[in-house]
Subunit: 252 residues, 2 copies
DNA sequence: TTTAAAAAATGATATAACAATTAGAACACT
DNA sequence: AGTGTTCTAATTGTTATATCATTTTTTAAA
């Protein structure tokens, strides 16, 4: 296999074992993707094809494919007509990578909540600026849905979370959406799903205000309200009082 | 809430191939990590050990290890006393995953810049609130460094980028830092590294103001200044005039 | 104590084989 | 013509057995 020299960046990539043949194949495919040579859906051929193409054994190709697959760069199908092809974007891979690194790094709840403020604050602001009529319809529907389950803490929490997602989605910014989904993946399991009706009603009220600000395209106010909203959740989440603990976090 | 039909998205993790033996091993290790059973540094044993432990062939273990390695969950060392162990947090894996998904999803420059505003704006705000004296020293040093290379566009751009990184690092929020580094990885290659001295001087001036606001713990003003700064960069970056294109983007 | 050679452990690669899965073609039967 | 079924070929998943290359540890010598 010729072209094995990797580009400038990425000194970080494990100095050890970096030049195994399998990794060279990974790098070549990766660079080809980054340089626009590949589009999602493009076929790379079967393991046998690739083994012949790179003049290596099937196992070496397998190692490379397993890495590329985990990176989310290729998807592999078994059976006739199968093989490896360039994958569609799948943010789950990314969310998962983020969650893993947060755990390994021991990132705290407080840090993640600050991150949430950054993402959702900007999300709300951009949602107000860019929302489509379809976005508004969806947000209104989600508000109605939440209303019907306001007495069921777990369901209301879930409905509220969907509302928050819809707000970020209304921003039209896929980078923000990706980050939000990643954070959600990290944060949600920690959320207590119990809350008093009083708290639920307050969350619902704020969500309505948020909807109105987004509808009115008032980005700055939407951002501020979202941030206040998140901070109040944080306050509940971090206050250690017995009652608050019992109330739990609502919606997010 | 009745509405159980999930939205279009998220058939996600390929139903096919999900229960291969190799994937089961991956899942087991993953779950163990998420449940706190493993800490960075813990040894998993060699390929041979794991093959015996799971009663599978070495190649199957290899497949699983390659996946876990790419996920950043384990690191593998050769030689006596080597084998697989739980990795330390390495945000490069995550940054890379993000970059890959942005490319596959075709995320635009505009979307990424909005994301930058969210991250760096919050980063500057939190830096002002949480900065240590060491942070201030480093920021001051970086300002001096940039001053000495103000006539060398490429070097000044790099120095400016280091300043921006230091600001986010001063926030003390590892989640933000991770996101910033990920974005940097995506954005930097696009940055033109040429600029007129006039532009460099302006950037340097703003960086000084930013430093002062962080020193004064004025979070709100720091955030606003950072955002203005980024928007002015965006303006240059997106204006298509010949002169601006020649001037390029400065610092970030 | 330092250095260098030897040995052991381990991953990297290759070859061969079989099982399980899938797509598509061929075929039979309405 | 259309529909369902069966066969076939292609392809990944898995196992087994070797051999090679690299790294680390151990041992011996200077």
């Amino acid at each position: 296999m010729g072209n094995t020299e990797l580009k400038k960046t990425n000194q970080s990539w494990a100095p050890v074992r970096a030049n195994s043949v399998a990794n060279q194949i990974v790098m070549q495919v990766r660079e080809a993707l980054f340089s626009g040579k590949f589009q999602p859906g493009d076929s790379l051929g079967s393991e046998k094809d690739l083994a012949a193409q790179f003049d290596v054994s099937r196992i070496t190709v397998r190692d490379a494919l397993r890495t590329l697959e985990t990176m989310g760069i290729v998807e592999i199908r078994v059976g006739a007509g199968g093989g490896a092809r360039i994958a569609e974007s799948n943010l789950d891979y990314f969310s998962d990578a983020l969650a893993v690194q947060f755990i390994l790094a021991g990132v705290t709840k407080s840090e993640i909540l600050d991150m949430q403020v950054a993402i959702e604050g900007t999300g709300a602001e951009l949602a107000a600026l860019h929302r489509s009529s379809e976005n508004l319809e969806e947000l209104a529907e989600l508000l109605d849905d939440a209303e019907t389950v306001i007495d069921s803490p777990a369901e209301f929490t879930e409905a509220g979370q969907r509302f928050h997602l819809a707000v970020v989605e209304a921003s039209g910014n896929r980078a923000l959406i990706a980050q939000f989904r990643a954070l959600r993946y990290v944060v949600w399991p920690q959320n207590a799903q119990r809350a008093k009706r009083e708290i639920a009603e307050n969350a619902q009220k704020i969500h309505h205000q948020l909807y109105n600000l987004i509808k009115a395209q008032n980005g700055n106010a939407a951002r501020k309200l979202m941030i206040d909203h998140l901070f109040s959740i944080r306050a509940v989440s971090f206050s250690g009082t017995a009652e608050d603990a019992a109330n739990g976090m609502i919606c997010c």
